[in-house]
């Protein structure tokens, strides 16, 4: 039982990070119809900012907001420089553009910083844990879970209660009509990138806080997972992205905890097999997007 609770906490923590990343992908996809594969590089940028802040002697509590701000700025620059020029092109063009941005950034990290993994200085407190009733819960995980939930609550409030948030939901459904109503296309899309940058930044801080290191390819795997989570949840659906993120987190952690040792090497394949099975049952995802198949922009 205790192991089960322990693993559940691990699953919520990992699932939360996937959920934040999947949300960042889903917000961009819902509005622009583009999968931003350079989303992971925003995480990596966050990681390197944390590293440099650590070297400069900034305390983590200050370094984290700086790193998230840099991720937001990077997302906005990415949109302005790379994605705005191809905004009205086909989905394939935008996809390839995002791959190009990802590869360019990875190459820059490798050549300008280091191809090898770099240590990030973290406060000792993060590595400690709280013990009660035979459970040991990492401070890291408590922070990760509470930050994820806070972000989800704030984002939900923003999307439901502010005009810009409503305009973003409207644009996700029907961009032309949102523009007819006066939603400024550039503002809505820049807003979406700012939010996705913030989400990638928070996820990046949480990711690095678990590992205490950063490398040029750090963002690739988590964003691939987030992509799977977003599809599992229903591509373009924000609620779905959160559901898919947590679902994938639970699947991965429980498989890691409960599969017999000799099957462990097949864990990833099994996890993806479960995802495929779920998609066979619900082809549009757990919580389908409202406008499946509608044209974008």
């Amino acid at each position: 039982m205790e192991i089960f609770i322990q693993q559940t906490i691990n699953a919520v923590s990992l699932g939360g990070t996937y959920a934040l990343l999947a949300l960042g992908l889903a917000i961009i996809f819902s509005i622009m119809g583009m999968i931003n594969f350079a989303h992971g590089e925003l995480m990596t940028i966050t990681g390197y900012t944390l590293m440099y802040c650590g070297i400069a002697g900034f305390p983590f509590i200050i370094a984290a907001p700086i790193a998230i701000t840099i991720a937001i700025l990077a997302a906005l620059i990415m949109e302005r420089v790379a994605f705005r020029p191809v905004r009205n092109s086909s989905g394939a063009t935008m996809l390839v553009t995002s791959f190009a941005v990802a590869v360019i950034l990875q190459t820059l990290f490798q050549n300008l910083i280091s191809p090898r993994s770099q240590a990030v200085i973290l406060p000792d407190m993060l590595a400690q844990s709280i013990h009660f009733g035979g459970l040991s819960i990492g401070i890291n995980q408590i922070l990760s879970i509470s930050i994820t939930l806070t972000i989800l609550v704030i984002l939900n409030w923003f999307l439901r209660k502010t005009i810009l948030g409503m305009a973003m939901r409207a644009a996700a459904e029907d961009f032309s009509v949102a523009r007819l109503m006066g939603a400024r296309a550039n503002a809505v899309i820049a807003g979406a990138f700012a939010i996705s940058g913030a989400l990638a930044g928070v996820a990046g801080v949480l990711w690095v806080a678990q590992r205490a290191s950063v490398d040029p390819l750090m963002g690739f795997i988590p964003v691939l997972k987030a992509f799977i989570a977003a599809i599992l949840g229903g591509l373009g659906s924000l609620t779905g992205a959160v559901a898919g993120g947590f679902a994938l987190g639970f699947i991965e952690i429980y498989l890691a905890a409960y599969l017999p040792d000799h099957i462990q090497p097949y864990r990833e394949a099994l996890a993806l097999g479960i995802v495929i099975f779920l998609l066979l049952l619900r082809p549009h995802g757990l919580v389908p997007a409202f406008n499946v198949g509608r044209e974008k922009v």
């Binding site: 005009i163 409503m166 305009a167 939901r169 409207a170 459904e173 029907d174 032309s176 009509v177 949102a178 523009r179 007819l180 109503m181 006066g182 939603a183 400024r184 296309a185 409202f290 406008n291």
Partner: protein, 238 residues
């Protein structure tokens, strides 16, 4: 005085010419009907006016100011709104959220937004009861009312209505047309694109008839009613 002028408008989709040399003008306070069969180029004309499709050549002016090249989101700030064909309410948003989005050009003016919201609720009482309902679950007629109310939330001077009667039950169509007249009486100029010729000419002051991308005839509603040109445009006779 003309509130909207369109001169020599051409719209192409690839090699297909959807609108050919359309010239029309609307005076302040008029209801003008733009009639024609399916595919005659009526919606393309509207979409070109609001910039959703770029005109190939031609001039579009609103109170003497050229609209060509302006981004769509700018037009509503000048006082032009289009209620698109097929209603296109934001189906996953509530009725009230749909209305609030219509008031985006009002900026931070919370009082005017609230005032307009109350006005829409008194104009379309059904929307009050449905205020917090998801718009996608409304009936077709209710969605059309919501779509019109959403356009009115920005206090437009010129309302472009694209096929407001499409797919609606006859008594709902009557209600919508009564509303159109009431809107004109409240000072809004209306360009009405319709397939329902009889109803349109009943409420309109003047009309233009399009066929195969061009305007084939125009005149007062009475003249059009008594001529055979409208029927011909629909039936495709030369």
């Amino acid at each position: 005085m003309a509130i909207l002028t369109v001169e020599g408008l051409h719209v192409h989709y690839g090699a297909v010419e959807a609108v050919r040399d359309v010239t029309l003008s609307i005076d302040d306070g008029e209801i003008v009907a733009l009639l024609g069969a399916n595919g005659a180029g009526k919606s393309s004309t509207l979409n070109a006016i609001v910039g959703l499709v770029p005109p190939h050549t031609g001039a579009v002016g609103f109170r003497g100011k050229s609209l060509v090249g302006l981004p769509t989101e700018q037009l509503v700030r000048l006082g032009i709104t289009l209620t698109p064909e097929g209603r296109r309410v934001f189906g996953s948003l509530t009725v009230e959220e749909n209305l609030l989005l219509g008031s985006m050009p009002l900026g931070k003016s919370g009082d005017r937004r609230k005032e307009n919201l109350e006005r829409m609720f008194s104009l379309f009482p059904i929307l009050v009861q449905r205020r917090n309902q998801i718009a996608g679950t409304l009936s077709g007629g209710q969605q059309q009312m919501l779509a019109i109310a959403r356009s009115l939330m920005s206090s437009p001077k010129l309302l472009l209505l694209d096929e407001p009667s499409l797919g609606l039950a006859p008594q709902i169509v009557d209600t919508i047309f009564d509303q159109i007249v009431a809107l004109r009486d409240s000072g809004i100029t209306i360009l009405l694109v319709e397939q329902n010729v009889a109803m349109s000419l009943e409420v309109a002051d003047r009309g233009y008839v399009m066929a195969a991308g061009s305007i084939v005839t125009s005149g007062t509603a009475q003249d059009l009613n008594s001529s055979h040109l409208v029927e011909q445009a629909y039936l495709g006779h030369e």
